[in-house]
Each structure stands twice: as structure tokens, then as C-alpha cells.
């Protein structure tokens, strides 16, 4: 990145509320708490924040009104962003551009959601509301409701084309649960086996329950500033070294690559090129994992294995604690917590700082992060590093 070293973007703060079956606070209250926690974590004060980027989940409730809730005055950057699961990484990109250009100097990026209610199942709480009119009503009346069948259709296509199996998907679930067992804030920490995966009930074939992410309440915020401003703050610096987005643009349209190739295939290499790195430089990988399949196809698209060989690759023993590929080290969305793109991003910051406790990667200089939204429709990549790049 050809840019004055002291103006390059650095993540200096991370704030995470209680996550999971946490009832009571609204999404806006979770968001405000997350920003306060992130500011404190950074060693800053709320009055230092001059940029705010907000985002919310399907239940909404977070908006630019968060400025008022936090008593932030005289902001120089304020916007609500929404590109679904790619939003968190996209917010870091906008915040980075803002601090590099001097548009703002300390930018808080926040996501919060509160879909869970007491005594309502996670599936019922999430993504199954549909107005019965017009094109969306027709889709729902046809039975195509929510993300589960849409991603299942993608996964089936991959299986039919490349021979990917449900057992291979199970390897992703088992490995991530093993990581979650080492993460004190993960929602599901009880180890599972491939047999447990095989025995879990069908949701939408080829997905079983253990192929699907959790649903969580809570909020996570990240603070981005310049390298100059980051000097002397409270936490180890996490440098934003590369980024890219890819939005293929075929949602509910004919799309020959559907389920086979995603935006990760262009965003991943572009982000690494911006950082002046290759996959060989990457120590830790934090991928958006709404489903086990999302992990598998993203690994292929990023180039960790050839296209179509994601199944044998994830089943080859490379995953899980002690494996060669340190992937979704906090348990991810499958077993950790579901904060959309903030799940991989938060764990990436924790790992890059060296604050991962029992699950900390020994080498953590470079962390590759993905965000994925829609039905493989929106992709964003970040390359984070514990060291600033060469001038």
C-alpha cells in the first residue's frame, strides 16, 4: 500500500457484549454498549470518536441514531451500511479509507442484532418472515423461505459437480466445535464427532442441523484509526494491510457459477495483492461460516486448494486445533457466536493481538478474514497483520 506510513489504518479497539441467548437489551442498546467497550478497550474516550459506521442484522434496530444514543457530537463521518454478511469487513474498508484520507481520525464500526426471544426457537426467530404478496410472496408460497434452502441448493450443486460429500462438510463442523471448546465466549462448547454430525436432524438436505450457524443476540464494535494516532494506545496494533470486495450480482437470476465459484475468487487474491502478500504469508484464517459449505467453497476460491477439491481438503486432517490450517479458531458462527461478519473479524483481531488464550495461534502475524452476504452474493476480504508494512 503506497501511502504515508503514519496515515495507514490500524484497528485499535474491539468491544464485544455478552453474546448468545442474552435477553433484554435492544439491538441499539447492544450497539451502544459494544462501542463503549471498544473505545475503552482502545484506551480512548467516546469524545475521541469522530466517525461512526453502523450496521444491523435482519431484525434492524441499529441506525445513525446511535450517534445520539452515545452522545457523540461533531462527527465527521456517519453512515449506516448494509451489504449483509460482508458488511463488517466493508465497514473496516470504509473506515480505513476515511482515516487514510483524513476524513475522520477515529472511526467506530458496529454491528448488533437481537433476533432471539425467550421461548421461540432459533429457526422461527430468524429469516422465516415473508409478506405473502408480489414476487417475494410468490417465492415464499413456492416454499423457498429463508437462507437454509438457498444455501442448500448451492451446496448440492457443488456436490453434484465435484463429488463433495456431507461427511466432508461434517469435518468443518467437528473442527470448529473443537476450537469453540477453547473459547470461553462460544455458545456451543461440547465436543462433537462426525457421528454426531451424521446423526443431527436434516434441516435442508444436504445440510443437517450441525451444518448451520447459530443465532445470537449481542453487539460487536471495532475502532479504526491511523498508525500515527494508534501509537501509545492500550492494545497491540492490528494493521489493515489489504482489502477487496466482490459482488457477482446474480441473486435469483440465472448464474452458471452458483454454488461453484463465489466472489471470494476475485476478492481474496485482490486483497492479498494489495497487502503485497500470498497465501504462504497467512498464519490464521477466519472465514464467514453461515454454513459448513460456505467455509469449503471459500477455501477453494481463496486458493487454499484447487477448485472442486475443497471436500477432500477439509477432510484431510488439516483443520482443528493442532492442524496445519488454523481456521475459524474461535468456533466461528457454527459454534461460537453469530454476529454476521463481526464473527470472523472479532476473532481475527483477537488472534492478531495474541489474546486468544488457550486457542491462540503460535504464529499470528497475518490473518485473512472473509465476509459473505446474501446467498454467496456479496464478498469482502481483509488482510490484517500485527506489523505495519514496509513503506
Amino acid at each position: 500500500m503506497a501511502w504515508p506510513a503514519d496515515q495507514r489504518p490500524v484497528i485499535v479497539g474491539l468491544g464485544m457484549t455478552a453474546l448468545g441467548k442474552v435477553y433484554g437489551p435492544t439491538s441499539a442498546q447492544f450497539a451502544a454498549e459494544a462501542v463503549r467497550l471498544a473505545v475503552t478497550d482502545a484506551g480512548l474516550r467516546l469524545s475521541d470518536v469522530d466517525g461512526l459506521l453502523t450496521s444491523s442484522g435482519l431484525t434492524g434496530g441499529v441506525s445513525v441514531d446511535l450517534q445520539r444514543d452515545l452522545g457523540l457530537t461533531d462527527l465527521r463521518l456517519l453512515s449506516h451500511m448494509q451489504s449483509y454478511g460482508s458488511t463488517a469487513a466493508a465497514m473496516i474498508q470504509v473506515a480505513s479509507l476515511a482515516v487514510m484520507s483524513g476524513t475522520a481520525s477515529v472511526v467506530a464500526c458496529v454491528f448488533a442484532d437481537s433476533p432471539l426471544q425467550p421461548a421461540v426457537g432459533a429457526g422461527a426467530a430468524y429469516g422465516t418472515r415473508r409478506a405473502p404478496a408480489g414476487w417475494w410472496g410468490l417465492l415464499g408460497a413456492s416454499g423457498v423461505i429463508g437462507a437454509n434452502p438457498m444455501y442448500a441448493l448451492a451446496a448440492r450443486r457443488h456436490m453434484e459437480r465435484y463429488g463433495t460429500t456431507t461427511e466432508q462438510l461434517g469435518h468443518v463442523a467437528v473442527a470448529q466445535r473443537a476450537w469453540a471448546a477453547l473459547n470461553p465466549v462460544a455458545q456451543q462448547r461440547e465436543p462433537i464427532t462426525l457421528a454426531d454430525h451424521e446423526a443431527s436432524r436434516w434441516i435442508a438436505e444436504p445440510f443437517r442441523l450441525l451444518d448451520c450457524c447459530l443465532v445470537s443476540n449481542g453487539g460487536i464494535a471495532v475502532i479504526v484509526t491511523t498508525a500515527e494516532r494508534a501509537a501509545g494506545l492500550a492494545q497491540p496494533q492490528v494493521h489493515v494491510r489489504g482489502w477487496a470486495q466482490a459482488h457477482p450480482g446474480h441473486y435469483l437470476r440465472r448464474h452458471p457459477d452458483f454454488g461453484l465459484v463465489t466472489g471470494a475468487a476475485t476478492a481474496g487474491p485482490a486483497a492479498l495483492a494489495m497487502a503485497g502478500m500470498t497465501l504462504d504469508d497467512v498464519d490464521v484464517v477466519e472465514l464467514y461460516d453461515c454454513y459448513t459449505f460456505t467455509v469449503l467453497v471459500t477455501l477453494e476460491d481463496y486458493g487454499f486448494c484447487p477448485k472442486g477439491e475443497g471436500g477432500p481438503f477439509v477432510a484431510s486432517g488439516v483443520l482443528g486445533p493442532g492442524g496445519k490450517l488454523l481456521l475459524n479458531t474461535g468456533g466461528g458462527q457454527l459454534s461460537g457466536y453469530y454476529m454476521w461478519g463481526m464473527t470472523p473479524l472479532s476473532e481475527a483481531v483477537i488472534q492478531a493481538r495474541g489474546h486468544g488464550g488457550d486457542r491462540q495461534a503460535a504464529a499470528h502475524d497475518v490473518v485473512l478474514v472473509s465476509g459473505n452476504g446474501g446467498v454467496l452474493d456479496h464478498h469482502a476480504t481483509l488482510v490484517l497483520a500485527s506489523e505495519a508494512g514496509a513503506a
Binding site: 404478496a133 434452502p149 436434516w202 434441516i203 435442508a204 435469483l252 437470476r253
Partner: protein
């Protein structure tokens, strides 16, 4: 599972008129490209002066998923086969596959469009059946 209730709005009125007559209507541009019925511009050339034209009704299977309803009590969970189908005119469509054994499916299987209604007062919904 059968289809659910759906009502028309301004954007879907002509499509549902076609469905009521047993016809799946596509959007066709002056150059003759076919697009999915919900588009506002041609997916091939971007033209916005689109007309409606009936699909022939043939399709091939692109992908499928068997969706299981959440078990309640002793009742057997319901299974619904959802598919993406490529219409012979090119566009894709997402709906149910009715009256088919999900264990007997493969990509490229020939399908045909049929219509089902949740009730007499609801609009006709396109579904697929094995050809």
C-alpha cells in the same frame, strides 16, 4: 407440502394472470432475449422495454434440496423438495418439485411447469414436476 398463499401486486398482476391461465410468463426484450419474470430490465442487454411472453413449459434440473419441517410431537416431519430449474428459454426459477422421489434426482433431469393453488381464493403458483 403444498404451495402457500400469495396475492398479487402491481408488479406481478400480469404474471399471475398468466399463471391463472396455466402459462408461465417470461420477460422478453426487443432483441428476443428472455429474462426471469421479476426483472425490470433485460438480463442480457439491459433493455427496459420488455414484453411478456409465455414459456413453453419445459425445464431441466439445476439443483435441489429436500427441506424438512421441524418435528413436532409424534408427527412425521414433512419433506418438501425445492429446486432450481433452468427453463428451456434460459432463465432460472426457484420452486417446489411435486410428486417426485428426492432419491431419484440428478442434474439435467427433465421437468415441466405445473401450477398449484393454496386455495381457490389464492393465486396460482408455478411448481415443477418430472417430465
Amino acid at each position: 407440502m403444498s404451495v402457500g398463499p400469495v396475492s398479487r401486486d402491481a408488479a406481478t398482476a400480469e404474471f399471475f394472470d398468466g399463471a391463472a391461465a396455466g402459462t408461465f410468463l417470461l420477460r422478453v426484450c426487443p432483441a428476443g432475449h428472455s429474462s426471469e419474470p421479476a426483472v425490470a430490465q433485460c438480463t442480457t442487454c439491459g433493455a427496459t422495454d420488455l414484453s411478456w411472453a409465455p414459456a413453453a413449459g419445459g425445464a431441466t434440473l439445476v439443483s435441489w434440496s429436500v427441506v424438512w419441517s421441524k418435528p413436532s410431537g409424534d408427527a412425521e416431519p414433512r419433506r418438501t423438495v425445492l429446486v432450481i430449474a433452468e427453463l428451456d428459454e434460459g432463465p432460472w426459477w426457484w420452486s417446489q418439485l411435486v410428486d417426485a422421489d428426492p432419491d431419484d434426482l440428478r442434474v439435467g433431469r427433465r421437468l415441466r411447469i405445473e401450477f398449484r393453488r393454496a386455495s381457490d381464493s389464492d393465486e396460482a403458483v408455478p411448481v415443477f414436476a418430472l417430465a
